[in-house]
């Protein structure tokens, strides 16, 4: 089960739950699992975030996959200069 840390913004839809485990192995399945578990959340909220997979921040994770032991962190997208 991959470990997922949710952003502060996402925690508003999880009753404050910051960390969960998921059975998903693909980003798309991860989103589906999140929306099933937290009905208050929607796809637009998830899509506002980048996803860090094992420490590597990916701005557009649509096609990303990850392993059972992966650590996933949703993080607000940051603009640079």
């Amino acid at each position: 089960m991959a470990r997922v840390i949710l952003s502060a913004d996402m925690q508003r839809y999880t009753d404050g739950i910051r960390e969960i485990t998921v059975s998903a192995g693909k980003y798309r399945d991860l989103v589906t699992e999140l929306l099933q578990r937290f009905p208050g959340m929607n796809e637009a909220i998830v899509a506002k975030h980048a996803l860090a997979i094992d420490g590597i921040i990916i701005q557009t994770p649509l096609l990303e996959t990850f392993g059972e032991d992966s650590e996933l962190v949703f993080v607000a997208r940051i603009a640079g200069g």
């Binding site: 094992d54 701005q59 993080v75 607000a76 997208r77 940051i78 640079g80 200069g81």
Partner: protein
Amino acid sequence: MNMNVKTEFKYVGTRPIRPDGPDKVTGRARYGADLNVQGMIYGHIVRSPHAHAKIKSIDFSAACKLPGVLATMSADDLPEPGDRKIPGGEVEMALKTFSPVVMARKKVLYHGQAVAAVAATSPELAAEAARLVKVEYEVLPHIMDMHAAARADAPLLHDDVYTQGVDPAPTTPSNIPTQIEISTGDISKGFAEADLVVERTYFVPMCHQGYIEPHACVVQTDENGKVDIWCSTQGAFMVRTLTAAVTGIDIGRFKVTASEIGGGFGGKTTVYLEPVAVVLSLKSGRPVKMVMSRDDVFRATGPAAAAETRVKIGVTRDGRITAIETDILMDCGAYTSHPIMAGVLFNSACYRCENVRSFGREVLTNKPRVYAYRAPGIPQPVVAVECVVNEIAERLNMDPIDFRLLNAVDEGDVMAIGIPFQAIGLKQVLQEAKAHPHYTAELKAGQGRGVAVAFWINAGMQSSATINVSEDGSVNILTGNPDIGGSRASMALMAAEVLGIPVETIRPSVVDTDSVGFCDVTGGSRTTLATGGAVIKAAETLVKELRKRAAAIWSLDIEEVDWTGGMAVAKSGTGLENMNREDAATRGDKTLTLADLAARAGATGGPLCAVASHNAHNAAPSFALNICDAQVDRETGKVDILRYTCVQDAGKAIHPAYVEGQMQGGAVQGIGWALNEEYIFNEQGRLDNPGFLDYRIPVASDLPMIDTVIVEVPNPLHPYGVRGVGEVPIAPPMPAVVTAVNRAAGTRLCHLPLSPPKLLAAIEAAEAGTA
């Protein structure tokens, strides 16, 4: 996902002469305002004289009577932005947060905001016509102070802004578009475990990036609907996207060419003039040139946010950080742009700490919409964190670098937001700084020293590159990223490394949006990493093609042909070690150089070219440290920076001179922000210092030579180990300077800039015992 990172290089890491150098020093280089085309007319913006007002009417009739006035425009010529979101690379942007910056709609929210525009046959005539445009306003109360703007009873800038990040969702609008909080551990427990807690509040003013070249563009439209834009920008593709969005014109009609750029630093990651010039060109049927004055640049483009940061740090008596709490209020001007995110997420990322709480709010005021300044949102809170860290080290009687080494993050440590660090170079940076002669150089009475470190996340994003080989074997690289910090030289070096040919035989070019695949902006410290990554991929593809062509000529399988030393070599020879053509010929090996293969390209399959594109997911963070020695004239409050050293982990420095330039440039900008630079608004909400006489940026005579030390801890995700280098240098200078100045003066000023009047007053107060 770690990869094999190359560590031995022939060309990468050398310092060839920059390919754009001769054009720039001889004046041949063409910047935004340097293009002139036949039939061109000139646009001029009508700007708001009020900081906050409703636009009741705009009357162009008097202006249009002036002979030579060929077009006018206002927001009525642009589509309503609605709630449309525009992809902006790293983040989506709401069209309604930047379309009104191009041209105000119904309301003006800051002095100098664009309200209308005219185009005429000369710049003087256009300016005269602009003065004849009658705009009727209903003046509204303006609000310049961010604390006042944050209050519930403050006059509202927007009636449709509701604070995001608050539960339950607010039902009334406010001037606070965003609130964010992150936390890890137990902050109360962390402070309870501390033997020493220091809490301070620091203010950093709104300041401008200070790029020397004002915004400028030339737009030409034709009867087929084609729109050509020439402009000074950090991203031609970004200009295409945003101008299409603001004007409502199909993106496929645009071709954007980026001129040479005289500085951007994040300030040229948007559009101001381009959509206006497009409309004026379409209406007049003529090419339109628009050039901002320096006054326009200060009043109407995007400075860096002001911020107030309260920081509270707890430590044990042996120097271990037990808790870090920050509370940031950030003044973002009239429209939201979210620099608060990075400030909240990363302000204490240099330190290992189990208990962290970081809270931030953006506030809207009647000032220009802010944009990035190198690392957006991070220098402001880092001032507070780093100055308090220095104070704590002093109070614990610890060396400030030793204190940081004790608490520094390393590979495997986890940020407060939960992301683990891969290989990083903070500890190496700290060790290099401690070993530098500057750090132990003696200070005289009245002098002070400050150190500070900072972190920046860096970005990857999308890039493309094309490599073409000419008939003589010379190579041309095409990319779409404006060369701000030496990217052409870096692209050539990386291609030379893969192709094995001298870097001087490679011509790197920045081309228009029709001539290469999509590239995100030159920003986010991404170009060498991401566009360079595309160049490496394209060069590797080309090498494979060259091996295939040689194999065809020799009737061999491609696996029997290697590419080494800039030539194809048949593996059936006597070996590839110590290969050069003479050796190979002596031994009877088969070889074909790039020139040999280029000359026979037609016979072996056609022109030699390679294209690559990718979305780089391999960015890695950077850390930087600055050491500053300062001296304060106690009679005038003037500060002299005596000695300054920058240490930074660059990953692999592709062209070290350019990396050093980024470090030095960021240091100088941070010194200016710390000591003098600030937007000064008067009671009417007008900027009182919109020029370089009154807005004091450092010049060469103000500064010592900025010494640099490049630390190279390779990015494990990049084939050459590259990290971004352009943004993090803006973060450590302010706290290093503030600490040095306060130590030199015997003060504890927390309100930047530390300008002479302010410093003198603090010195006098300290001497009088009233501080």
